[in-house]
Symmetry: C2
Amino acid sequence: MPITITAFERSPDRGQGLARDMRVRWALEEVGQPYDVRLLSFKAMKQEPHLALHPFGQIPTYEEGDLALFESGAIVFHIAERHAGLLPTEPNGRARAITWMFAALNTVEPPIFDRSLVNILERDQPWYEQRLRALDGIIRKRLGDLSSHMGDADWLDGAFSAGDLLMVTVLRRLHGSGMLEEHPNLAAYVARGEARPAYKRAFDAQLAVFTAASAG
Amino acid sequence: MPITITAFERSPDRGQGLARDMRVRWALEEVGQPYDVRLLSFKAMKQEPHLALHPFGQIPTYEEGDLALFESGAIVFHIAERHAGLLPTEPNGRARAITWMFAALNTVEPPIFDRSLVNILERDQPWYEQRLRALDGIIRKRLGDLSSHMGDADWLDGAFSAGDLLMVTVLRRLHGSGMLEEHPNLAAYVARGEARPAYKRAFDAQLAVFTAASAG
């Protein structure tokens, strides 16, 4: 059954792979599933027919036959459940990998995503410096905990999993902040994720969309 | 196999059911599984042996034989996967219910949780009013989208699911803000969740912990 995902016609990150379709592309590349992409303008995302697929008017969505999903975490999980390579088969290891999926999205991502928003939307506000410092404190606490957990392991819990895939996409957003480099094991972890052939194929595919839009 | 979860010895919400053990208690009550609770002080949460269970030093955790999990979303999913009542058995409906779990935690919860933090930590800052207004704008957008999606349905997608369980715990945090009441269908949805016998048992159990701690 052909798979179609949606992505930004012109990604606000200029093709750095920070838009959330990157996670879905990467997961599909890891399991070797081809997919089509339907590009959306910011205007089209907020209107029907897209709102029928995504109640919050965002990307990505995922269509496969009569199944339609939204939320990048849920889509990655759906792919991981149906294809080998992104979740352990042993039940306890599988449950722990799913735990890391939720940890990436509900514990680690929120302050990191807020930091991106503050840098875009609040740079001219009088509170900008103080707010950034407060967020950086929260982020540093999370990174310290994560670094202690990882030690010298390659991945969060045994083999590479969908938990690592999501965590790497979350941590990548800190490139340029200098905070990853405060923990060499985390910087190496992100680099390890970005070096995977499936990651590179996904990254190149999303960058090609931006490059084509900019040339057009 | 006996189940043990962890919770605050003295919850900062004074037993209003906003701490994240509430979600796990509710899920266990929905599927009829008994559980033990190990209470933790704020100090004990940040130390071994708890850090070995939860790398970020938070509650809840979940222990069952040799399985140890953290992250409330992951624990609720684990319970929903192993016991009937929280996920549809039909594959597409199941995938959509899981989508709502991720949507509750990754799209709807972050601005609502931020609002709670701002009200606790930033009330005396010069930017308080402006920041609250900005957050309320984001939250109102999410609530409007969610209200449009729900229409006059009882639950997010067919029967009550783990997606509803998480969404109701997220939306409850808006009690007192007046924002839920702007969408009568969302206010009714939250009330419908809170009226479930399993919800009430879970709520009473977490309140009893706080009441006992306050009397002690």
